[in-house]
């Protein structure tokens, strides 16, 4: 069943009649604009797209999309979306969530939807803070982060969303940042094209409660040194002139090397299908390393079944082998007796 629109669409077709009410300067605006643009480029008819969210700043997103939308409850968007997708596999389903919504209160649903590999897209706006409740530390806040509920610094160790997703068996993991519109668009396209659950972590700036959390990654002056742009089959190089590279030591741990000091063959090459590489990239943290951006992992096809396809295949197989359900035969299926 085609879900394509019958005529060409533009970004404006995906703009709803609701006033957008995020704080001025919020990174969410940029993400909204890119999602609307990409939806038009994908040519998905508005009525065949469903945006589902939980609670939080990011979760207001569905109200601003001129598609079907469901603003549900805190952490539960993957559960709602699972019902929608399993009931109607032909729909294009997008889950909009945040670091608190997906990884804290909704952690269980998050890992299980990844494990089941439904063909939906999860966009996690990671701002490392609770915004809607006005500034408490989140499960991705760095240790020591001082917030209203951690005046002496947070004692929690943060999740790496990508590492958590990988542990849950995600078949598609990508990372991008709100201000890099081209990169964000390309990640959204990749996510939409992926068969299975696509998980995209979008580093998103909260101007009010955690401004500049990703400044080094997104600022023009520093980003070349701080971003490692991953590309399939390409060596892992970064720096203004690609003067730095990632090399794996004998014990398989990564290190940053100057390209001029090593042979080209010593530089690690990215492979989206290699689980070891996804592991390395999702755990590569700390100021000595650049932040990996792009598709960390993408596997699909044989060995990575899509949940809702299995659900409907079993229904099909049951009907093939037993014939379509006959209720009268069902009622009679136990021991019966006739009363005259």
């Amino acid at each position: 069943m085609s879900i394509a629109a019958s005529s060409a669409l533009s970004r404006k077709d995906f703009v709803s009649d609701q006033d957008v009410r995020w704080c001025p300067g919020c990174g969410d605006y940029a993400i909204l604009a890119q999602v609307q643009k990409v939806m038009a480029e994908l040519g998905i008819a508005r009525e065949n797209a469903v945006f589902v969210s939980g609670i939080g700043c990011s979760s207001r997103f569905p109200y601003y999309m001129n598609t079907y939308g469901f603003h549900s409850i805190h952490g539960r968007a993957p559960a709602l979306a699972s019902g929608i997708k399993v009931a109607r596999p032909e729909l294009s389903v997008w889950i909009i969530t945040g670091d608190g919504d997906a990884l804290s209160i909704g952690g269980n649903h998050f890992v299980h939807i990844l494990r089941r590999n439904l063909d939906v897209n999860i966009l996690l706006f990671n701002n490392e803070i609770y915004g809607l409740t006005k500034g408490q530390y989140s499960p991705t806040s760095k240790r020591g982060h001082k917030t209203k509920t951690s005046p002496m610094g947070s004692l929690d160790s943060p999740f790496s969303p990508a590492a958590l997703a990988l542990g849950a068996g995600a078949t598609f993991i990508a990372r991008t940042v709100d201000v890099e519109t081209q990169h964000l668009q390309s990640m959204l396209h990749r996510a939409a094209a992926h068969k299975g659950t696509s998980f995209v972590e979008i580093l998103q700036n909260c101007v009010v409660f955690n401004d500049g959390a990703f400044a080094d990654v997104s600022d023009r002056g520093t980003k070349a040194e701080r971003q490692l742009l991953l590309e399939q089959g390409k060596p892992m190089l970064f720096g203004r002139d690609s003067e730095w590279g990632i090399r794996l030591r004998a014990d398989a741990t990564p290190e940053v090397v100057a390209v001029k000091d090593v042979k080209p063959s010593e530089i690690a090459v990215h492979d989206e299908t290699n689980p070891f590489m996804a592991h390395l990239m999702s755990h590569m943290e700390g100021s000595q390393f650049p932040v990996p951006m792009g598709v960390l992992r993408a596997v699909e096809g044989e060995g990575y079944p899509v949940y809702e396809e299995g659900v409907h295949r079993q229904i099909h197989e049951a009907r093939e082998s037993k014939g379509p359900g006959d209720f009268d035969a069902l009622y009679r299926s136990g021991d019966t007796w006739q009363v005259e």
Binding site: L80, A87, R88, V311
Partner: protein
């Protein structure tokens, strides 16, 4: 095997009106199987039947212990029956622990059949007997048949070269054979059932058939039994019948309801006692297009169901009290987004984990009030196992017609109890119509139907009607987010009015018993059988009782207030601390009297009679 097996005894036959029999043994003794098959024989004999399994919470408690005792009670009668009976007339026990647990229930003068071989020193000690109960005098007053069942089973299988463990496992068929003889049950169907049940192992077919016949023949030949009994056919509405448990009836009813609505059934559920069988049964119905998702938790169960409803399916979730507690927030969301949702609560003893395998009716107030905010939902309570089928269809109908969550309150007693069910014809069941969006006016997602106050059910995929729903309060007209104070009040009222309006569909309450009685007994849910039989019994003793049993608990029937005021006294028996009685007192200012039992066990008829009589005498 092939030879004709005697169908009738040559011994004198005494006719009884009704018999309550209980089979009890260790969890591994096959008592549920034995009881179920004896029930089937009784149904085939034309009796009215009602059954109640009583099994331990532990999957395999240590053999021979009190915790491991599993029981199955059957009431079979030549007159109409509504309960599995209170005190058994006949108790069959396969070990000392089963005797210890069940002897207090056996009626005075009742018949006790024991496997003498199981009363070893070790088993007696495990059951807490200092000496053999036949020596202590505690079996005095009963008719006791202390039979070497295990030895006779072994003898019947002596030439078969079966391991000793397998031999012992056949002994329940000796008991089944003996009881089949004792009550003149038809045996052909049981022999056929053994052949199909154990078809994978011809050796077990042979063994169980031999032991069943050995039990039957023992009754017929031994001098221990002077005569046998029979219970004649009951007057039952003609038709094709099957025995059905409440959980199976719910599963089939939900699937039937969805089919009648022309929608796909989507069940999102998480296993929990005593509701799990509904998920299992529906998971086996894929050829009907039924979707089941075993979710990661209770919240995801209801969440996926609500998502499926948004997508146009009949979203259903099934659980028990602790699980429903976890679902509360999503039920509130369903109230707010006004989508169909059926939430089945098979109630068990609470609070918390409580008594998972025992029955209780203590979640009525949870269903009514257990959410934040003003959050009205429709609540329906089936009254018998077979009624679960109709109630499930009715829940689907109301959920779709009124775009609302419906909570269906079953309980452990209905879930596992079985009764004869007159098979319906699918084609004769009425269709369920969800009102489609009529494009006469501009679409708004919360534009209400004038009659039902329901909003339109428009699913993704419908062109030109894209819209967003969510948990935030919305504007009455546009459905957009609204924080306007007066709009909120209006929305709270309209959601409440919508639920109140459901009672327009109800038939007038049926009043059983004496219409001009002084005392009205008001019950709900699974107490129906016990209350009906008690009222019948009391009225036959010259008392004056009426009985009303509302099926819908929210909204309550429109004529209930007038009915309550017609009687001098109103008594409300419930398996809780008094929940419906509070609602009745609150809504109708009627001085209703609670009659409560919170023991994890259903009301017995004579117990109810005594207590109803007591309240009437006390309040004279």
């Amino acid at each position: 095997m092939g030879e004709a097996f005697p169908l009738a005894s040559n011994k004198p036959v005494e006719v009884l009106e009704k018999v309550v029999i209980r089979f009890a043994g260790d969890s591994g003794d096959g008592m549920q199987l034995t009881g179920t098959q004896f029930s089937n024989e009784s149904a085939l004999a034309g009796n009215d039947i009602a059954t109640l399994p009583d099994y331990p919470a532990e999957i395999r408690a240590p053999a021979g212990t009190l915790a491991g005792v599993s029981g199955f009670q059957l009431n079979f009668s030549s007159t109409s029956l509504l309960t599995p009976g209170e005190r058994p007339d006949v108790l069959v026990v396969m070990n000392p622990a089963a005797l210890k647990v069940n002897l207090p229930h056996l009626r005075e003068g009742g018949t006790l059949i024991m496997d003498a071989d199981a009363f070893t020193k070790g088993n007696l000690r495990k059951a807490g007997y200092a000496q053999h109960p036949s020596e202590s005098g505690e079996l005095d007053g009963y008719t006791v048949f202390d039979l070497a069942m295990t030895k006779m089973t072994a003898r019947a299988l002596a030439d078969m070269d079966l391991p000793k463990k397998s031999v012992v496992r056949c002994k329940n068929f000796f008991a089944l054979g003996l009881c089949s003889w004792m009550f003149s049950r038809p045996t052909e169907q049981t022999l056929a059932w053994i052949a199909s049940k154990f078809a994978k192992s011809p050796q077990l077919v042979e063994a169980n058939t031999r032991v069943f016949k050995a039990g039957w023949n023992y009754g017929e030949t031994t001098d221990a039994f002077a005569n046998c009994y029979t219970v004649e056919k009951a007057k039952i509405e003609p038709g094709l019948y099957s025995s059905i448990t409440g959980n199976k009836a719910l599963a089939w009813g939900l699937a039937t309801g969805a089919a009648k609505a022309g929608r796909q059934l989507f069940l999102g559920s998480y296993p929990i006692t005593p509701a799990t069988e509904i998920l299992q049964d529906l998971a086996a119905m894929k050829e009907f297009g039924v979707i089941t998702v075993q979710a990661e938790d209770e919240i995801a169960g209801v969440g996926s169901a609500l998502g499926a409803s948004f997508a146009g399916a009949i979203g259903v979730t099934t659980s028990s009290g602790p699980g429903v507690a976890l679902k509360a927030e999503t039920i509130g969301l369903a109230v707010m987004v006004e989508l169909p949702l059926v939430v089945v609560n098979v109630q068990r003893g609470g609070p918390s984990t409580g008594l998972p395998t025992k029955t209780e009716q203590a979640d009525l107030l949870q269903a009514l009030y257990g959410r934040n905010g003003e959050s009205p939902v429709a609540i329906i309570a089936p009254r018998t196992p077979a009624d679960c089928f109709d109630a499930a269809i009715e829940a689907v109908r109301v959920a779709t017609k009124y775009m609302t969550p419906v909570i269906l309150l079953s309980d452990g007693y209905l879930a596992n109890g079985a009764q004869p069910w007159k098979l319906p014809k699918f084609s004769e069941l009425p269709d369920i119509e969800a009102k489609p969006w009529k494009q006469q006016v501009a679409f708004q997602p919360y534009l209400r139907d004038e009659d039902t106050l329901a909003r339109p059910w428009v699913s993704p995929g419908t062109p030109n009607l894209t819209h967003r729903v969510g948990g935030i309060e919305k504007d009455y007209n546009s459905g957009d987010i609204s924080y306007d104070p007066l709009n909120h009040e209006r929305m709270v009222h309209v959601r409440a009015s919508k639920i109140e309006g459901i009672s327009a569909d109800f038939a007038p309450c049926e009043i059983e018993g004496l219409q001009s009685a002084e005392v009205l007994v008001v019950g709900w849910g699974s107490t129906y059988g016990a209350i009906s039989e008690a009222v019948r019994a009391l009225n036959s003793q010259g008392y004056s009782f009426a009985h009303v049993h509302p099926r819908w608990l929210n909204p309550l029937p429109r004529d209930l207030g007038e009915i309550l005021r017609r009687f001098d006294k109103v008594i409300v028996p419930e398996m809780n601390m008094g929940q419906l009685v509070r609602v009745v007192r609150d809504q109708y200012l009627v001085d209703a009297i609670p009659l409560t039992k919170i023991q994890g066990q259903p009301f017995g008829v004579s117990e109810l009679c005594d207590r109803l009589r007591g309240i009437v005498e006390e309040n004279k």
